[in-house]
């Protein structure tokens, strides 16, 4: 499997001859460039065009995060797998209102399914689970626009997040979900995890012929790579939230792992390491795929989701979003 590199310390990425090195003040480590798919950079890292050019020859994507661990942007090398045919058809699905709503609905449906799945095993959350089910079942058949769908999704999500207070440690009480900037630990964790998933999905999209800027649930104008936001909806509850629950309930992450700064609350370096480690484990965890009859990692399921979208666009197979069956 292609590897993901996370750099949390400060240093320099340097190409010397045909090797890429990461150098810190105290050590120099060579990077196995042929087996790397993406690099997430959290530390303060210097690099020059010589290194960038080398990295891009291998189709490696760099994701940058700022001092607070918030996603800043990605360096995406020129794409090798471009198919005009796929892009044109992807755009057609955006322009046709019915077709667009169908896909947007699929993303939300899968997201809601995974939210409910997360609450299903928790007795404390039963009432919330029922409330989500009511809201969803009442609303889902009366959707005639993207904004209605967004509204429904927002209401479901609010119930979902408010259930967290029932089973997460008290220190991590959430008044409400706030995106930017997060001012309390639980929101900081969710934001951190979501941006990691966003960039991970972006990498998977990059390796396919999908155009990351044509999206369905989110407006393409919203963010440069808004298809990544769409697909992330499926995987945020499935991957990020379960990582958060595990880290908090096992007390692996506590309030000690957060720093505060004016209006921000953010994970400190130690906290990020713990989080990244757990997320990496999750992404590499495999589940047997029933049709493929092979073990597929969570990360692999993201790629498969991209494939399903391509098949949908080229008129091969109607898209049916992932609903974790395990």
């Amino acid at each position: 499997m292609q590897k993901t590199l996370y750099i949390t310390s400060n240093g320099r990425l340097r190409r010397k001859d045909n090797t890429l090195y990461f150098e810190t003040e105290t050590e120099k480590r060579s990077i196995d460039i042929e087996n790397i798919e993406q690099i997430h950079i959290f530390g303060e890292v210097d690099l020059n065009t010589k290194a960038l050019n080398y990295i891009s020859q291998y189709g490696i994507i760099l994701h940058f995060y700022n001092y607070y661990g918030f996603y800043a942007g990605s360096f995406v090398p020129r794409k090798k797998s471009v198919s005009g045919d796929v892009v044109v058809r992807q755009a057609l699905h955006y322009l046709d209102k019915e077709k667009r709503i169908f896909l947007a609905y699929c993303f939300v449906e899968s997201a809601v399914y995974h939210m409910m799945r997360n609450l299903r095993e928790r007795k404390e959350a039963e009432a919330f689970l029922n409330a989500i089910e009511d809201e969803w079942e009442n609303g889902r058949f009366n959707i005639s626009s993207i904004s209605e769908l967004m509204g429904l999704e927002g209401r479901v999500r609010n119930i979902y997040y408010s259930s967290f207070n029932q089973f997460l440690p008290e220190d991590f009480y959430m008044e409400k979900r706030e995106k930017r900037p997060p001012t309390n630990p639980i929101n900081a964790l969710i934001s951190f995890g979501n941006s990691l998933i966003y960039s991970t999905v972006l990498t998977e999209i990059y390796h396919t012929q999908l155009d990351p800027s044509i999206s369905f649930l989110h407006e393409p104008s919203e963010k440069r790579f808004s298809l990544s936001l769409d697909i992330s909806e499926i995987f945020k509850p499935l991957i990020v939230d379960s990582v958060i629950f595990k880290l908090l309930n096992n007390r692996q992450i506590t309030l000690e792992h957060f720093d505060e700064d004016l209006n921000y609350c953010y994970l400190n370096q130690e906290g990020r390491k713990i989080f990244i480690n757990e997320l990496r484990n999750k992404l590499e965890t495999t589940v047997r795929h029933r049709q493929l009859n092979r073990n597929v990692s969570y990360k692999g399921y993201i790629r498969l989701e991209c494939y399903k979208l391509i098949k949908h666009f080229i008129g091969d197979q109607v898209y049916s979003p992932l609903k974790a069956w395990w």
Binding site: I33, E34, N35, Q57, S81, Q291, L292, I310, I314, G315
Partner: protein, 171 residues
């Protein structure tokens, strides 16, 4: 892109399409729409090619095609191909026949050779009128399949297991 390289690119793609026509028509359709997926070993190979480009050998006449096929059309010898296994025999033969056919159109008559180094075997091919006819038919069949709006549906076959599209088709 210099004209000659462009022409080689087209030749390469056309050759692969001929090959895929005999392997799997769905694969052919997907490939013709540029829906391709590189895998890990491609990437490793890419690294090596890049390496070679940065340190060109004076006399490099081989043109790397489809990452697995080496065709030596620029040198004086025969059209030579290297295959890693003889499993796809008909597809391989037709691919070489196509190259020979193409060269013939340009007024160059050659023999073809397929090398199976792993099996320590090689095969010499001659473009006969029958094969020439078969190539023409294949080209029009390719035209027909690739102009369809949707791909032929996936059908499970033995080759699927080792096909780069396996996860795409069945996932």
């Amino acid at each position: 892109m210099p004209e000659e390289i462009q022409e080689l690119q087209d030749l390469k793609f056309q050759g692969i399409k001929i090959n895929y026509l005999y392997v799997c028509k769905r694969k052919l359709w997907l490939f013709s729409k540029n829906i391709t997926f590189e895998n890990q070993s491609d990437k490793v190979l890419l690294g090596r090619i890049l390496h070679e480009y940065s340190y060109p050998k004076e006399e490099t006449k081989e043109v790397l095609i489809d990452n697995l096929i080496m065709i030596d059309i620029l040198s004086d010898g025969a059209v030579r191909e290297v295959k890693y296994s003889s499993k796809m025999k008909e597809a391989d033969i037709m691919q070489v026949m196509y190259y020979l056919y193409y060269l013939k159109q340009k007024g160059i008559e050659k023999q073809g050779v397929i090398n199976y180094p792993k099996e320590r075997r090689k095969e010499t091919l001659q473009l006969t009128p029958e094969y020439e006819q078969k190539v023409k038919e294949a080209l029009s069949e390719i035209e027909e399949i690739t102009s369809q709006a949707t791909p032929p549906p996936a059908t499970k076959q033995k080759v699927c297991k080792s096909c780069a599209y396996f996860e795409f088709c069945w996932g």
